[in-house]
Amino acid sequence: MNEAIKKMRSKALAFGVLGTGATIAGYFIAGQQQFFQSWLIGFLYVFAFACGGMGFLMIHHLAPGKWSLVLQRLHEAATRTFPLILILFIPVIMGMNDLYPWINPSAHNDHVLEEVMHHKGMYLNVHDFFLRAAIYFVIWMAFAALLSRWSRQQDASRDTAEAEKLALKMRMLSGIGLVIFGLAVTFASFDWAMSVEPKWYSTVYGAMLMMAQGVATLSLFAIIAFKLASSDKQYGSVIGAQQYHDIGNMMFAFLVLFTYLGTGELIILWSGNLPEEIEHYIIRMKDPWTQLIVGLTLLHFTLPFLIMLWKSNKRNPRRLSWIAAWLLVTSLFVYFWYLLPPLRPEPPYFHWMDFTAPIGLFGLWLFVFLGSLSKRPLLPQKDPRFPAVVAQLAGKSSGSEAVVSHG
C-alpha cells in the first residue's frame, strides 16, 4: 500500500473512532434526540462524497475530458462506499420518529401540519419512505458495481480495441445513469433532508444539495490527489499545474452554482412571500441562525470566490489544498443551515455533537474509501485517453508549465 494512503488511513481511523465514540457516548449524555439530529448531519456530510464521486465519475465517462483521468480512480473508490453509507443510514431510520415530524403529524399540536400531511401523506409515509430508500440504494450500488467492474476489465484488457469497447460501455451507462442517479439523489434529499420541515417545499433543493456535494467532493479529492502526487512517482508524473487548475475551476464553478441556486431560491420565496413557503426563512430569522447565514455567505462563498479568481491559486497544488481544506470545513455548516433550524425551533442552539458526528463519520468513511482506493491501480492506464495525457505533460516538461515539484 502507498505510504501516503497508509498514513492518511491511520489518521482517518483515529478520527473516526474518536469522533464516532464521542457521538455514541453523547447518546447517553445528551439524549437520543440530540444524538439522532447530529447523526443526520454527519450522515449527510459523508453521503456527499459517495454521491459526488458517482456524479463526477459519470460526467467523466460521458464527456471525454482528459483532465479528470487523474481523479477517475478516486471517483470509483468513492462510489464503492455506498454499502458503508447504507450502514450509516441505519441510525437515521432508528431515529426517524425524532427527526421527521411528518411521521406522526398529530403529535406536534400543529393543525397546519396535520392538514398538509393529509395531502402530502401520499408521498411522505413510512412505507414509501423505506421503499424509496431501498430503490435509491439499489440504483447507486448497481451503477457503482457495474462501472467499477468494467473499469477493472479495462485494466486487464489486452488490446486497445477491447479497452475502447469497455470505454464505450461505461459511456453508454453513464448517459442514462446520470439522469437516474440525479433523480435518485434529488428524491433522497427530499426524503432525508427536506422532510425535516414537511410543510415547506422547494424543487431546487435536490440540485442545491448536489452542488454542495460537488464542492465537498472535489475539495477532498484535490487534497488526496496532491498527497498521492507527492508519494506516488507515477501519479505525480501525470498530474501537473494544468490538472490542478482544472480541478480548481470545477470547485469554483460548483461553488458559484450552489450560491446561485440558493440566492435564486431566496429571491423567489422572498418576493412571493407566500405563507407556505416563507416559513422557511421566518424560522431562520433569529440567533444564531442569522449569524450562521452571514458567516456562510462570507466564508463559504465570498472569500473562496475571491481567492479562486486568481489563476495562480488554482495552479499551485499546495495553495489549492488549503482552499479545499477550508471548503471541506465550511461545507459542514451548509447542512447546519438547512437542517438545524427546523430540528431545533425553540431554543435554537449548536451542540458539540454536531461536530463530533461529522468528524467521526468522515473519519470512518475516509478509512474505508482509502482502503478501497489502494486495492486498484491509481491510474486508468488502459483508458484510450491516457496516452494523450502523458504526452501532453511530457511535451511541456521543458517549459515553465512543467510538472510542479512536490515536497
Binding site: 429571491i267 479568481l309 511535451g395 511541456k396 508549465e401
Partner: protein, 196 residues
C-alpha cells in the same frame, strides 16, 4: 529612427511552423535566447503560448475586476438610493430597503461594467481598430489564419540582428523565415538614412 543601421528596412522576421507543438517548443527557445519584442500568430488560441514566449502578464484581468466591483457597488447603490430616498414606494408591504430584490440588477450591472470594460479595454490596449499593420506585407502571412503557426521577432528588439536572428529562427525548426518590410512611412525613413 536608427539612421545608422540599414536594418530598419525590416519591421520584423516571421518564422513559420507546421504545428502548435512545434510552435511551443520554438517559442521556448526564442524566449530562452533572450528575445523580448516577440509575438505569435496562430489560427486558433494555443494553450500555454503566452508563458512559452515569456510575454508579460496582461493587466486586463485586474482592470475588469475593478470595473466589476464598480458596477456591482454602483448598481446596488443606485437601487438603494431610488427605492429609499428618491422615490420610496411600498410594494406589497415590504420594507423600502428590500435587498434580496436588488441582487439580480446588482449582478447585471456588474456583468455589464465588466463586459464593456473587457471589450473596449481590449480594443484600446491592442490599438484596434487598425486598418494596416507592417506584418501584412510579409510573404505568406495569410497562412497564419488558416493552417500555419508563426513567431514574430520585431527588429526593435535589442538582440535583433537580421542575419543572426534569421538563422537562429531556422534552427528552432521553422519551415521558412520571411521578413516583414516596413510600410511606406518606415521605408521613407530608412531611405532618408541611407541618403545621408
Amino acid at each position: 529612427m536608427s539612421h545608422s543601421s540599414p536594418q530598419s528596412n525590416v519591421y520584423a522576421l516571421v518564422a513559420e511552423y507546421p504545428t502548435p507543438e512545434a510552435l511551443l517548443t520554438a517559442a521556448e527557445k526564442v524566449r530562452d535566447a533572450g528575445y523580448k519584442r516577440v509575438d505569435a500568430l496562430t489560427p486558433f488560441p494555443v494553450h500555454g503560448i503566452v508563458e512559452a514566449l515569456g510575454l508579460p502578464k496582461s493587466r486586463m484581468a485586474a482592470l475588469v475586476f475593478c470595473a466589476a466591483l464598480f458596477g456591482a457597488i454602483g448598481g446596488f447603490y443606485l437601487q438603494v438610493w431610488l427605492t429609499t430616498q428618491q422615490y420610496p414606494l411600498t410594494i406589497s408591504g415590504r420594507p423600502y430597503f428590500s435587498w434580496p430584490n436588488y441582487i439580480p440588477v446588482t449582478f447585471e450591472c456588474m456583468v455589464l461594467a465588466a463586459g464593456l470594460t473587457a471589450f473596449f479595454g481590449m480594443l484600446i490596449r491592442n490599438r484596434l481598430p487598425r486598418p494596416y499593420h507592417p506584418l501584412f506585407a510579409t510573404r505568406g502571412i495569410e497562412a497564419s489564419t488558416t493552417g500555419k503557426f508563426m513567431i514574430v521577432v520585431e527588429s526593435t528588439d535589442p538582440k535583433f540582428d537580421e542575419k543572426g536572428t534569421e538563422s537562429f529562427l531556422r534552427s528552432t525548426g521553422a519551415e521558412s523565415v520571411n521578413a516583414a518590410p516596413f510600410d511606406d512611412f518606415g521605408r521613407d525613413q530608412a531611405a532618408d538614412g541611407a541618403a545621408k
